[in-house]
Assembly symmetry: D2
Homo-oligomer: 340 residues x 4
């Protein structure tokens, strides 16, 4: 069985595991106050070229989103996201469970637009409605697309205009930054937002996300919010060791880049076989559309998610991971070739 | 520097790391629906001799407490704990952040008593006050003590009398169960409560707790609560692998037992040197009382937590961990001997 | 200045005030446990022909919605409403502040449809998403329309099919039930839902809503929820006196019917003058569309809400209240005639 | 039956009702943006001698407490109160339902002490615990006592020292300010705190509290919090009319003063009969202690609350209200005389 189901399907990248093994006899202080966390923090601050940023290593994406949004908002505050935003759909109401509404606008190719923010702000004029306080996007998006620099600049400026925090969920930030369509560095992106997180769980780690806080107003007392909302990791040094390794020798980017390249090959080869796609390939998620009558057989040999389906056509999602290989891609193409 | 600061000071037990390394090339499905999680679940169910129990592996203690309590209560419901209870003091209001009051009663040797529940129930008669719905204890307690079987039976019966769920936070359950003062098995304890969790983070794992739900009313839809309250672990199979190993060859109990024995030796030796203690040793936490004037030097050589302090006397907490050794104990005794 | 801004623009109906004055020397027990509340309750139970229903008098619509929805749902539960639903737009996130998501579907003439519920249920299959638990509608709707009996039956059956509570916000229930298009009695409506409230604030009272709970599962312990969510009224007997009077001599329906009739006259006369409307008149809210260039003058003489506006056309909302008179309607027509 | 059960036992003071009747034909804008509200606001601002204060009229005490505390705190913030504080005991977890812990310290004669704040602040040093952000007291207290000027100054200074908001629940503020033991004016009290509310419900109104915000940081966007937490009153002008009347011709103080005087007479007379009290009389609540064997008969003739009881002695609470008369007091004394 070839696995294209998701990018969190294996324990962790061998080099990260190696680092954990090497340091497994050491004793560390808890709660992220250790030397490894400190080193990882310095590497990330250097990478984004910002000495004043603060970095916190948390246990997962959903709790990181809860932390940032709950920390940014007053009790009647709301987050703005596009309709397909992870916080709006796939977090079982985790944001609302902190007391806050998620206001949505239809996505454009998986993305929130400047127009979306404008429309929402203009229709929320007074105290009978929630007060939008933070804009949420994910990059890459739920459908694998990547924001362009121009789009990020527009969102950033719109946020400033309306006094909104701008927060980027980077669960798959590695794949966004190493996409062939990406026209900015992590440091340029960091300069445009108030906070973002660098996903570890979907980029080769056992778990963990690195929350980077740029705006010092958001930084104040945020450790309280991390603990209160269940994102504090007692063995924070494990995140420290893993992120320290991830940001050594370009590993973070290498993992993501390879995933993107495998997805690109798969996309191009399938395209040549006449397969249509829901969208163009930009990162490690692609969405081929097949005749529904081959899906049963296909999913016996390739593990993947059914994105949507009717009696004629079925769209599936293929995701490459740090465990994916060229061989997987070649085998998948052969399997599909036979089924078409 | 000898480390007696806490029991979450190292990556994980070598045998657990070995298991992770062995299985690091495998591909798994996410969210705890994998074969390793399944095996670990079966082992725990067998251990507690209850086929109808359900087991969920979560990311940490605070979020597990949030999940169970929020799942058990209606919006106006409250949890009962003793004043020193972890949820009352050391979780940054995580329970209140889910909307629920924690009602407290003074502890007796670190424990909640039957009388405490009775007093609280009798003083909460109507809708002008919260409605208590769940009793929370930790075993071993915050001060290292262990509930006796008789105490658990009394608490269990009192909960039944008042229609309260009975929930046990087992962050250090291993040390409780392997304590020389413990007069019950995990299966006997499980039969007395509605839910409990088996702590992994403080018992040799990288992270993770095993939430065991005995009462099927609490079980219904609990995966939604796990996700909503930030306790869902995408790479659930990592917990699966670790707990599977922990419950193979008695490793869970061996780790805890060794910690208890080291703490006991340390306690006995210091006692012989004339050191007084806040309480008798029952598990891996001991609380020696020293003259305040030696603390500065002592903490240069032994890393530990200051429990409380005045100008004459200072109580410190020594905690043994899976990384602690007989050598650590011997060295600590020698260091202290010189300082007395 | 003619007032068509809203239906909560005066202290209260003279007959209600009379009742308050008559009973202003009496002493009552608090929190709705008094004789007046009891009498009002019996009258409502008789009106809906249901001895097993329970009635609670609360302070306002938003808090009543909070109470019912928070009481109906588990922590990860969600409410379903149409996009224009009051809870979704005009309650400043009050529902989300209790921890719950509001899932929406585009309205059809101001109403939630059976199809809306079906689509939402089918797209929320598992624990990665919220679990819908209650359906919310308002009757009459935000745009003054009234659900038909067939529509209510379909919604009710769909709720049963998916195990959802069905809750009706009756802030303007009087106007719905006395609408010329309404084809059911309050008793028939009550039999189709699990809970509803009868609006007092917008039907001639100083304040207050009567929450009627049909489904006994929802009834259990609801007084706790009323207090916890800020809807408990210390002087509950004031609500008792007012609702007792409102349900004596058909006053509740008379007030509403007169409002509807005035709105109908205004609608018909304006229609004859060639004015277009956003929708047909069904209750006490009508939405005429004027040339934008007359709006400034119009609103100097008629107080009303601007519903939406562009440079050519402006829709306004005219609402009749218990204070409105035939004279108001005649004067308004004359004013508008001159401006057209 | 003589009524000493509570001070919210009648519709409202005749002069307030008169004002409502006089203005019952008028049309007003909603949500507290009307002329009556404006006049009442100006009178209160003049009374406290502070042009920069802001006044908001809300529906009840519990929701007002929710609003202020939720508005003052970040998600992990906590309120400090004494153990008998209304928010801690008698609001069914309303504060916790907004996500916030209430930290308590044993009361001293019904009051929170400076020492209480100090102890709590010193035991909450870091992010593993909640962060106290606001101090809550009620004046008069739950047991009818009144803070002295010196006590308020100490609390105020302690709040400033620790960067805590200082908030006073004035459900019975009238009785506090007109107590013979009160050594300050409302304007002096206002200058010592960040916000307080003037209770209307327990001081002769149908409902309503006047929230006075002194600290402009707390004022910002508070209307959103009022709506979100269910305290917004659509017919805000009713509160406007009532408070406008209450602060005309000293009515607010006259009502409270008379209640205090009746309580004082009752207290003195009973004292002369040899009755003991739980505390000295300061306001309109007194707590006589009787032999338990007379309670059954006593409560047949005098409606009052049982405060606590054992087989020998029973403490009851007598509360005088705006409906109480000298005759009630005389009759009560005669009834008790016969029973002693």
């Amino acid at each position: 069985m070839i696995n294209f189901r998701n990018d969190y399907c294996g324990v962790c990248h061998p080099k990260v595991l190696e680092a954990l093994c090497e340091k497994s006899k050491n004793v560390y202080v808890g709660y992220g106050l250790d030397t490894e966390t400190n080193e990882a923090t310095l590497k990330i601050k250097k990478l984004i070229n910002n000495d004043n940023a603060n970095v916190y290593f948390t246990v997962g994406g959903t709790s990181t989103n809860k932390i940032v949004i709950a920390h940014a908002l007053k009790s009647y505050g709301a987050a703005i996201a596009c309709d397909t935003g992870h916080i709006n759909v796939h977090e079982t109401g985790a944001i609302e469970a902190t007391g806050h509404k998620v206001l949505t606008y239809p996505n454009c190719n998986g993305k929130l637009t400047k127009e979306g923010i404008e429309v929402i702000m203009n229709s929320h004029p007074d105290f009978h409605m929630v007060k939008p306080g933070i804009v949420y996007i994910s990059n890459s998006t739920e459908t694998g697309t990547v924001y362009t620099k121009q789009e990020l600049i527009e969102l950033s400026e719109t946020c400033k205009k309306y006094n909104l925090y701008f927060y980027i969920d980077g669960a798959r930030l590695g794949c966004a930054l190493t996409s062939k369509v990406c026209d900015y560095t992590i440091s340029e992106m960091a300069a445009l937002c108030d906070a973002f997180y660098i996903g570890g769980t979907k980029n080769g780690l056992i778990l963990g996300e690195a929350l980077v806080v740029i705006n010092e107003k958001l930084n104040d007392e945020i450790r309280y919010a991390i603990k209160c909302h269940g994102g504090m990791y007692a063995k924070g040094f494990v995140n420290g060791i893993m992120f320290n390794r991830l940001f050594t020798d370009n590993l973070f980017f290498d993992i993501a880049k390879k995933e993107n390249e495998l997805a690109e090959t798969l996309y191009n080869e399938l395209k040549q076989l006449g397969v249509e796609f829901l969208a163009e390939q930009e990162t490690n998620q692609i969405f081929p559309i097949f005749n529904t009558n081959i899906i049963e057989q296909l999913t016996k040999e390739i593990d993947c998610e059914i994105w949507n389906s009717d009696k004629d056509k079925t769209t599936v999602r293929f995701v490459t991971s740090f465990l994916s290989s060229t061989e997987d891609v070649v085998n998948a193409i052969n399997i599909i070739k036979k089924l078409l």
